[in-house]
């Protein structure tokens, strides 16, 4: 198993007082899609900017495919691509020209350059609008153009900072579909920051939650959801009356957190609904309680997020983030 990103004890202090990162440790496997979740101001973007060699950490180490991001930054830049949160294409030239300029900046050899650009445009579904000015593009198209730019050098890792911020659901879906097919074709590792829990849930292999500059949770979406240990089994009963001793029996099971009954609704909160259901069902049947309907509610990533990083998000993200989102909306992002 190759390790794509390794981070040890990373600290970043801004202007001597703001601790944006406070000892971050992280490992990302090659070929994974890795989602970094965190409330505003938790250090997501700072971490990504250090990993992409934009600036140096105050202390600690980080490496990309074994290359130290501080000492061997030039080599790191050859294997990574990065799509910043803000718009990163020139709007007063065409989409094709943007790719051409970036291809030249990236030093792509001139033979086959046109082919690479055409492939990138097709890959992102932009071939029909390639010669239009970027000004005329929609937010989703601009995002896809940026992805196309990032793919020109066939990176081993693609860093995406809030890749779908401000896009409508359809545009988000298209961006992700294109991204997934690119990832499959070139076996690229993808590392992305997001606020959208559903994206992390659907598209990522592993998730880390960062809060106040520290990693608070790490695992697959399922592991994270299970870690909450709060799943609800809801029974709709045919009869309103349930004997007190039945409730007592259910409550006494060690995997049951608590039981609530109101009218014909019996809610049993357990650690793992899938294994608990047959046991509870058995009790109900033995005691002659007839059940009309059963449903299970498993925690979503939102619940996970709120549990581990909920406190700070209530304080809001500060004016900078708001300004960023607003300014993007001005540029046709939203």
């Amino acid at each position: 198993m190759t390790i794509a990103i390794e981070v040890n004890g990373l600290v970043k202090v801004y202007s001597g007082k703001v601790r944006a990162l406070d000892g971050v440790n992280l490992k990302v496997k090659a070929g994974d899609v890795f989602a970094l979740l965190g409330p505003n101001g938790s250090g997501k973007t700072t971490l990504m900017r250090i990993l992409t060699t934009q600036f140096k950490p105050t202390s600690g180490e980080a490496s990309i495919f074994g290359l130290d991001v501080i000492r061997r930054d030039a080599e790191v830049r050859k294997v990574i691509s990065y799509v910043p949160q803000e718009m990163s294409v020139w709007t007063d030239i065409s989409g094709y020209e943007n790719l051409l300029i970036y291809a030249k900046i990236y030093g792509l050899p001139s033979t086959g350059r046109t082919k690479v650009i055409r492939e990138a445009l097709e890959g992102m579904g932009l071939d029909s609008v390639a010669d239009n000015l970027v000004k005329t593009y929609s937010g989703g198209m601009i995002r896809r153009l940026e992805m196309a730019c990032a793919m020109l050098i066939r990176p081993r890792i693609l860093f995406l900072d809030e890749p779908t911020l401000g896009l409508d659901p359809t545009a988000r879906k298209v961006v992700w579909e294109k991204l997934v097919s690119f990832k499959k074709e070139f076996d690229t590792t993808v590392f992305f920051n997001t606020h959208y829990m559903d994206e992390a849930d659907i598209y990522s292999d592993e998730i880390a939650i960062i809060d106040r500059g520290r990693m608070v949770k790490f695992g697959t979406a399922d592991e994270l959801k299970h870690s909450i240990k709060k799943e609800v089994i809801q029974f709709i009963l045919t009869n309103h009356i349930v004997a007190e001793n039945v409730l007592k029996m259910i409550r006494s099971m060690d995997f049951v957190s608590y039981v609530i009954i109101s009218n014909s609704e019996l809610n049993v909160v357990v650690k793992d609904a899938e294994t608990a259901l047959p046991v509870v069902m058995e009790i109900l049947r033995n005691e002659g309680v007839s059940v009309k309907k059963i449903s299970m509610t498993r925690p979503t990533l939102d619940d996970v997020f709120l549990k581990y990083a909920g406190a700070i998000s209530l304080q809001g993200g500060g004016i900078r983030e708001i300004k960023q989102i607003r300014s993007m909306s001005g540029k046709g992002y939203i």
Partner: protein, 247 residues
């Protein structure tokens, strides 16, 4: 580096309004100020008509205007993600800084190509020597590059557009007035003369005036030397300050 020049050319291809609007101010200097002042005849210009005398200065002022405000592009690119993306590109950061500056020189050249025909129309008498002309263009190019580097330096200090606009104006006009653009340095108070001798614009105006108007190129080499020293110093400072823009 050349990619940056190509970028500028492609942008200009799509939208030329900026070249035209930026040409208005220098044309006013020549057509209004120059024409009026040439009737006064109070400024000793070594026998050169006053309009001809100020043409090189106006030319340079308008080109460094383009260069100094090039930093604005950097500020804008910092607000968007372009700057970040350039930093992560597998290319040298110094090449990025230099490429940016040189690209602004290209924009400046377009400025020259618009002002010169207008000056000809008004009746400025140029020396028609292709070699002199090319040398003058080269000098303008070098000076604009240096000023673009200054503007990168300012951009690294002033991180918002509004502040940048103010400081940009506050730099160009004094440089223009405290130089030999509009009048010989000899006419200035002694203190200002010292400033004028530290002003790279003075040397550039002197060289371009020699090449395009008076034909007196005795000072050409020291002028170019001064400009090169200025460029090297500014590029060095800009490269260092560039890392500050990022954070």
């Amino acid at each position: 580096m050349f990619a940056m020049i190509e970028l500028e050319l492609r942008r200009l291809k799509h939208d030329r309004t900026e070249i035209y609007t930026r040409a208005i101010q220098p044309i006013l200097w020549l057509a209004v100020y120059g024409t009026v002042m040439s009737h006064v005849k109070a400024i000793p210009t070594d026998g050169i008509p006053y309009l001809d005398y100020i043409t090189p200065g106006v030319l340079l002022q308008s080109t460094i205007f383009v260069s100094v405000f090039y930093g604005l592009t950097i500020v804008w690119e910092r607000e968007t993600g372009i700057l970040k993306k350039l930093l992560v590109a597998p290319a040298s950061r110094y090449a990025t800084v230099i490429g940016r500056s040189v690209a602004s020189g290209v924009r400046a050249i377009f400025q020259v190509l618009i002002i010169i025909p207008v000056a000809l129309l008004i009746g400025v008498d140029f020396i028609f020597n292709p070699l002199y002309f090319l040398t003058a263009i080269l000098i303008i190019f070098l000076v604009s590059g240096g000023f673009a580097a200054i503007s990168i330096l300012i951009a690294s200090l002033m991180k918002t557009r509004e502040r940048f606009m103010g400081i940009g104006q506050a730099i160009i006009m004094p440089l223009f007035f405290v130089s030999n653009s509009l009048y010989p340095i000899k006419l200035m108070p002694t203190v200002l003369q010292y400033f004028a001798y530290f002003n790279p614009l003075t040397y550039a105006v002197d060289a371009v005036r020699g090449l395009l108007i008076s034909g007196d190129i005795r000072n050409l080499l020291p002028d170019i030397a001064a400009i090169v020293i200025f460029d090297v110093a500014m590029f060095a400072v800009a490269s260092i300050s560039f890392s500050k823009i990022i954070e």
